[in-house]
Subunit: 769 residues, 2 copies
């Protein structure tokens, strides 16, 4: 695939460009891996000269077009429109000519080609040595950044030197709107292809202005070049071209700034671009590194003994930051800003996987992402009314806040997204101590989602409360009663809402929450049923799940996966087969609802029935494998999550990285080997490392403090900077303050991993090979 | 709506054409009511001059076009194409000019206008007296028929006479292809609008030849006129126009013949037309009446005391015959050939409602409809393979035999269609004694559907067999476990298949059915679970149904119905609300699986939760209301089913009649008041009439015999022509042979009807008014 070099701690390096790496799928994957973003702007890692190319991509968070959703059979409440992220004007393009011959990695002689994604510098650097067909030798170095401190700005430094004198160089540096798009793949996870989505509304020699045709969003893109070469500019509605010529050597610093939204002015884009030009490329690069130094100081995870996973975890954290770094409330898409997969939509995985990581490593971003959810409450309230529910019903997938899911049994019916958002609110509020957020935004989310659950739940003949006919995380099971994950998360949502209302009674009053409503929430929470199979002595993923037909794994072939591409939902839904961790995820997130013995039995039961056709599965399985004492298996799942985009390189990385899996490797490490749980607003740890991993060190932000946890197979050391932090270590209450605190790790009997129909690759085999 | 005259026993009459009757919805309804068909050709009851018009419609059974099905989110096994019945070349058109002024019911003076659908003559007769704007008075009589004995032929006699001498008359008589269609209604039950579906492939002065563009089906339409007037013919690819002129009086007999299918020759169409011309209109009309005399002799139902229902039941039987009369294996569509609703598809209601009626009244048609199912077994086997099932999986909706359902939870998942077809096979074989059918066609259907059930069912921890995640008849509940209707019908299917294999061991051998497979079918049948609620002491429509949330009927307004247009499936599926009889239908069809006490309790329970948003509901409710002793309620439901199209005239009659409801009024009478059950291949009766209905008389065909049953509130008389018939009367075995046998009807304690959220209109109130 993308032909990456051996793992390095702080960068991802591609050396050479083999024929294999030039195939479209490999190009697409590399473009995703090497994408740069700052939560606002995303530039896929296309080659400067744009050819060969897998898929173009310049994304501006929430710049989307709407399209009609067509149904073979319509139904009430089906969304009529969806939203698709738009490919914004592309300013990455720099095409080089050498003595009139175009630079192309597929012609002449490519003597050297290297690309490095530098996780500390926050840049993509490319170094090329090339000899043109006519024999002119050049060296090219390009460095690209999307600025974290300057959210509207990206910049590229492009340098060419020659071996022999007298070589004429020409750069055609473009800002190009409405790029051609390849046709859509035949895969439900792929994006819709939009044809020329941007209507030109103005252009000059330095700014292109467009509006999306149907959603009516404006975008202005400004460009400037700083070079000692000779510049000539031409412009049209969809293209500004700056042609720079010189002899012997050329250096160009290209600055881009974007303004977009319902209103977007060329003036604003020019201002931001001018500010970037005034700073200059070197200063932008220095500020970028400083920003990342701060990030890594609070967020870094060190893992000794597995260099590939070490690299991958940092790569994952870097991409989580690139997806989630924010200066204003915006969604965080499932693919971040690295591709147009899932049409650029945000889904529940953001709150469930990405926000926990940001909450503990870069909490301000988590808060802003949740303020975006708060800003979309009007749409969620309207959707609840439309669905004949109460409170707010958040969309399953969206960019703007409107429901865009075209398949309701695995979209609208997955009401758990509301509790997932509430869970993220409660975690963020507890970890950050950001009372302003809770009071102004979080409380209202909690109240409206609690109202949803109260309306959805009902009391049955058994006197218990039940939630019928909803879909949990597992997309191979749908419309079941009492999905355990949903019920436990709803319980947390209801209790959290009640507690928050008691903390801010004036705000609760504003929202018409009375004592009766609080009592109702608590009654429903206390009496929500958790299905249990006495015959199998396990909790049921949903009521009746353990009585369904078993999947015939003996008859299932390797190329039958993912099953959804070879079996109808009719078959999948009727059987005991889970696409992804569902009850297992519930045991990770609502850990205190299960005893240790239940966790062990449940984990083994669902291991035998979970096929991991979702990238969201392995992290939760890693966490429970670790908790139930299967440390090698936990490592296997950790590696599967961490290496998914970087090494496994499935086709689905090509239209964007799996940001939740990027976050999932942190979760697998910190919740898995670190044993982090945060039930009840208190940090607890139960760290455990397999013998072959000598050391794990991770950092957490907790209110005003930074906590550093270092784990070896024998002991764990806790250090704090800032006010003391109360934690538990394997059940023992510990106050961490001042000097590091070290505690030993209780011994564990090594047990064989429970069988799985698709066991993950054994990580120790890979390490020992 | 269509402004019908008071009920008459043998015709449906419309007198006058009020402004209301000229509104589009009323025109559409009347066109459906006055449609003529013979199972092959269907002509909607458009006015001869075609203007004003609700919706054009000339249908040839199975002449369809394909169209792509679009999904907002695709999934494995979703059908990629659907089929839509095509509007074939229209030969009904006869436009009159009087002294150059076009006859139009909206201009001049419409002195008299009457249309009569004559159920014994099998004709639609129209009589008009009209004075043109310039004062020329004419009288028009047109008589239209679609010939039962000559399945490719239709004919029209059009006569004009004038009051004053010297009036010039001109008739433009057209055969017109690719008529303009109105735009589609925004209703999932409506048809897709096809634009110019027919590609011209040849035309002459008497034949138009076309092919459908994508399905590639051929159609040739031949026309001829016999008249004393002067004829002039012009023709083009889409139109043949015969202009006939005369003075003072004109009579034209217009003959139409169609040939269609994968191959269709103009020669064949001409031959059939020439044969019709040779017979002449009067002979065609006489043969039509003779055919219907035979039909009514075997099929008529007499009901004293409710003239409207009497008329409606005959109207329903007439339309069942028009939909199902056959000379070759073809499907019977849900709307017959009266409109393009449901895209002209056949659904499970044909086997469940229409075929029982035909089996007992016109059995040859039932046999041919089932031979059509047999002919589509290859497609059903292929579908089963695609769905990873076994045997055959019949489509939920189709014209050709390929699945056309675009919403799998209420389409593909409704596997009961397979058992419904098997049930129809078993009923037809038992009632007709047609062993040739069973041996050549029926057995293979039974075997392949039994194999489906064996694959779908599984044995769970409780040792019982279960069918999980399927959808029963009730479309407000989906993807449940152990739908009682499905399980009982599957049981019948499995046992029936086993018995048939034992009867024809050589055929079973040909189909690779061994002793082990037979034993497996019987084991599954014997152990298939029937869910029961101990708390409520009722059978559950599906496992867990009685534990679902109750529907809030107090908050449901009259205009909230049909609920599917105002509430999402998410809400409907999660709650105890039934669109239509489901368990109640199971109690009608699988009567011996329930005790009388269970039937009474179950009926009352589901009455309180059934909203009858489906026209298939009332007949089954009538049957169980009668059986459980609620005779007035049975009458109410009978009337609701019978009057649905004729008097209620909902918008959904406009795109075709509800043929299953037409059949349902027979079922309500004969299975309801007559108490007919046919479990185990033996006829049983438990007749009971409410006091206000003095007499019911119905006829049944049973093997070589005709049985006539006359019921009064006090007694029932059974008469047979042909060999003796063994029956039971209220549990007593009776042999009917020779002289009529009269038995008294046991007394019944009058009980109050169980409450319903939407009680039917009280029929006695209407009768007493």
């Amino acid at each position: 695939m993308a032909d990456l070099a051996a793992a390095e701690p702080w960068c991802v390096r591609q050396t050479g460009l083999s024929a294999e790496a030039l195939e479209t799928a490999a190009l697409r994957q590399a473009e995703s891996l090497f994408a740069l973003a700052n939560g606002h702007i995303g530039l896929r890692g296309n080659l400067d000269e744009n050819d060969p190319q897998g898929m173009p991509g310049t994304y501006l968070n929430s710049l989307f077009e709407v399209r009609d959703l067509r149904y073979a059979e319509a139904g009430y409440g089906y969304p009529e429109q969806s939203e698709t992220i738009v490919d914004a004007p592309n300013g990455k393009l720099i095409a080089l000519s050498v003595n009139g011959e175009p630079f192309d990695v597929r012609t002449g002689a490519l003597v050297a080609h290297e690309r490095v994604l530098d996780l500390r510098a926050g840049t993509l650097r490319r170094e090329v040595e090339w000899v043109s067909p006519a024999g002119a030798a050049v060296r090219i170095v390009s460095t690209r950044l999307v600025s974290f401190p300057h959210p509207s700005v990206a910049a590229i430094r492009y340098e060419v030197t020659v071996r022999d004198p007298g070589v004429r160089l020409r750069l055609d540096s473009d800002l190009l709107a409405n790029e051609e798009q390849a046709a859509q793949r035949d895969d439900p996870r792929a994006a819709t292809t939009l044809h020329r989505p941007l209507r030109p509304v103005g252009h000059s020699d330095d700014v292109l202005e467009h509006r999306t045709r149907r959603s009516g969003l404006a975008v202005a893109a400004a460009v400037a070049h700083r070079t000692a070469g000779t510049q000539a500019v031409t412009s049209g509605p969809d293209r500004i071209r700056c042609t720079i010529t010189g002899e012997g050597a050329l250096r160009v610093d290209k600055f881009l700034a974007y303004a977009w939204g319902e209103q977007a002015s060329a003036r604003r884009a020019r201002q931001d671009r001018d500010a970037a030009v005034a700073l200059g490329f070197d200063a932008l690069a220095a500020e970028q590194r400083a920003y990342l130094d701060d990030f890594w100081a609070a967020a870094d995870v060190e893992l000794d003994g597995d260099p590939e996973v070490q690299q991958a975890v940092r790569f994952g954290l870097f991409h989580v930051l690139q997806a989630g770094a924010q200066a204003g409330p915006h969604p965080i898409a499932a693919k971040g800003l690295t591709g147009n997969g899932y049409d650029g939509h945000t889904l529940w995985d953001t709150e469930t996987f990405v926000l926990p990581v940001l909450t503990y490593t870069h909490p301000a971003c988590a808060g802003l992402a949740l303020r975006w959810r708060h800003a979309t409450l009007p749409a969620a309230r309207e959707r609840a009314r439309e669905l004949r529910l109460a409170g707010a019903a958040y969309p399953w997938r969206t960019i703007s806040g409107s429901e865009c899911s075209g398949y309701w049994p695995a979209g609208t019916a997955a009401l758990h997204v509301n509790a997932d958002i509430a869970d993220a609110v409660l975690r963020y509020a507890a970890a950050s101590g950001d009372d302003g957020f809770l009071r102004e935004a979080g409380l209202e989310i909690l109240v409206e989602t609690a109202r949803l659950w109260c309306k959805v739940a009902h009391r049955a003949d058994d006197g218990r409360w039940h939630i019928s006919g909803v879909t949990g995380p597992d997309e191979y099971t749908a419309l079941m009663d009492d999905n355990a994950f949903t019920n436990l998360m709803a319980r947390h949502n209801l209790r959290g809402a009640a507690a928050a209302c008691e903390r801010f009674p004036d705000r609760a009053h504003d929202l018409d929450v009375g004592a009766g409503e609080l009592a109702a929430w608590r009654e429903v929470a206390d009496e929500l049923h958790l299905p249990w199979s006495p015959a199998r002595e396990v909790h049921e993923q949903a009521a009746g799940f353990t009585r369904l037909q078993e999947w015939d794994f003996a008859e299932t072939k390797d190329d039958d996966y993912p099953l959804m591409m070879r079996f109808p939902y009719l078959d999948l839904y009727r059987k005991q087969v889970s696409k992804q961790a569902d009850l297992v995820l519930a045991m990770a997130l609502r850990s205190d609802a299960f005893t240790a013995a239940e966790k062990a039995r449940n984990f083994a039961y669902y291991e035998a029935r979970t096929v991991r056709d979702s990238s969201l599965s392995a992290p939760a399985q890693a966490v429970l494998a670790a908790e139930t004492g299967h440390l090698e298996l936990a490592h296997d799942y950790l590696a599967e999550a961490a290496l998914l985009d970087l090494r496994a390189g499935g086709e689905s990385s090509g239209d964007g990285l799996h940001i939740a899996a990027c976050a999932g490797s942190w979760i697998a490490l910190v919740m898995g080997f670190g044993g982090l749980r945060d039930n009840g607003g208190r940090l607890s740890f139960a760290p455990r490392l397999p013998e072959h991993l000598p050391r794990l060190c991770f950092r957490l932000r907790w209110r005003e403090s930074s906590l550093r946890v270092t784990v070896t197979p024998a002991e764990a050391t806790y250090e704090v900077s800032g006010p003391p932090v109360e934690i538990t270590h394997h059940g023992e209450a510990v106050t961490v303050a001042g000097a590091p605190v070290t505690r030993s790790i209780p011994p564990l009997e090594v047990r064989a991993a429970p069988p799985s129909p698709r066991p993950p690759a054994r990580r120790r085999d890979a390490l020992e090979a």
